[in-house]
Symmetry: C2
Subunit: 278 residues, 2 copies
Amino acid sequence: MTESVVRARLVFAYDGTDFAGWAAQPALRTVQGELEGALEQVTRVPSLRVTVAGRTDAGVHARGQQAHVDLPVGAWERMPGRSDRSPADGLLTRLNGVLPQDIRIFAVTEAPDGFDARFAATERRYIYRVTDTIPDPLNHRYVLAHDRSLDVGLLNAASGMVTGLRDFAAFCRGREGATTIRTLHEFSWARADSGVIEATVRADAFCHSMVRSLVGALLVVGDGRRDVAWLQEVAASSSRSQAIWVAPPYGLTLEEVGYPPDTELSARAEVTRARRVL
Amino acid sequence: MTESVVRARLVFAYDGTDFAGWAAQPALRTVQGELEGALEQVTRVPSLRVTVAGRTDAGVHARGQQAHVDLPVGAWERMPGRSDRSPADGLLTRLNGVLPQDIRIFAVTEAPDGFDARFAATERRYIYRVTDTIPDPLNHRYVLAHDRSLDVGLLNAASGMVTGLRDFAAFCRGREGATTIRTLHEFSWARADSGVIEATVRADAFCHSMVRSLVGALLVVGDGRRDVAWLQEVAASSSRSQAIWVAPPYGLTLEEVGYPPDTELSARAEVTRARRVL
């Protein structure tokens, strides 16, 4: 016997500093653990499972993270606290009422048909933040302090060499047998007014530690310790390169997840699932 | 017998979250305690005393804080690590090498004649940050979440009523007998692109908890719970008003300290000292 469910779509953010990453782990404080606990508390449904767009590592932040959760219709319809609110608004308010301050839900909606936070996503956009001057201590949880000067022009020229459809094996901490072919839509650097340098990285999907490995490889080129020929050589490696430094997690923020128009959601999710199985 | 000293001027910043305020206290982690400890460690001079421009409360942040410390000439001249560096540059690098990440020194210079970080200052500029929408958890240590909508136009109109040369007794947590007359140069509100509302507060000096009391009094006007007549009434009180809510410390950042031209430093310090004694 199955009760029919409503799929809720969540847009949310977190400061990753005090979390052991997204994925729930026994006895550790994780974003998934906190979020599922809050959902179970406010809906009074046991054992809910949240599916997220981007499984972030320990210490990585998110500003435009997305997820879905399937709720029994009865629980969904109990959500409005006042008669003039929708179930989605009620769930939003209640979740923020019980979640810790380092997680905030920005939006709850009833998901369109075919929506799957993970498989329907077409793009993840990350920003890695680094400073080559004395760091502002009010940003020290979010910005890497790099102790050599960085040349933004050089960073952009070198980053252009690793964009597009490629095998990113050199930058992937491997799971045996999984494909490491990805399409890197953008890898660009810009210095903000504050002096902080922001690396924008956009791709259809990322393998494990890929963004931080790309950033780590580029920083040693941008500060002059390695040259572009070195980057081309390590990028061509068919397996994880030991020469590549993985930049620390706290500079990294998942800023946005992209989805196709609602009418194309189901088709997109099918394509993604098929590719992951291959 | 006295050894001649060099007065070093420090410009620095800190995230106040994990400090019990500026002022050194036994067994508590304070900014003064950390800074004096770092200075003693790198100069090998015992019992140094730092004088700060703005003594911030527990939880209050600073981005453009200033201070001075008097160092024996011998210790100052030992500071360059390499011959091509000045003592000031050497001290800057060494301090940042031993200080925790939530304090950073931005500049060290040999202070001009007559410089006194506290008494020569002509202005302190603070910003209080508050949001009336769902707060970004990546800013939750620096921005107050206010659960009612705020009218920025109304906030500015009401703030204009408490600027200028006035007795701020209603907004001062008292020290018996100390003057509560101050000149409030600016108290203005603006909504940033991020949606965060920033209150800029500039004055020659502030009494204890004055900025947070001003902000607390204005927020209940800006969200419609109190009217302008109420503000005028409480502002006219000749002693600390119990009707005024003190906004929490974490929204507050000391952004900048102003000093007169170098030639006027001594005169300014004398005027300030004389006024405090009265």
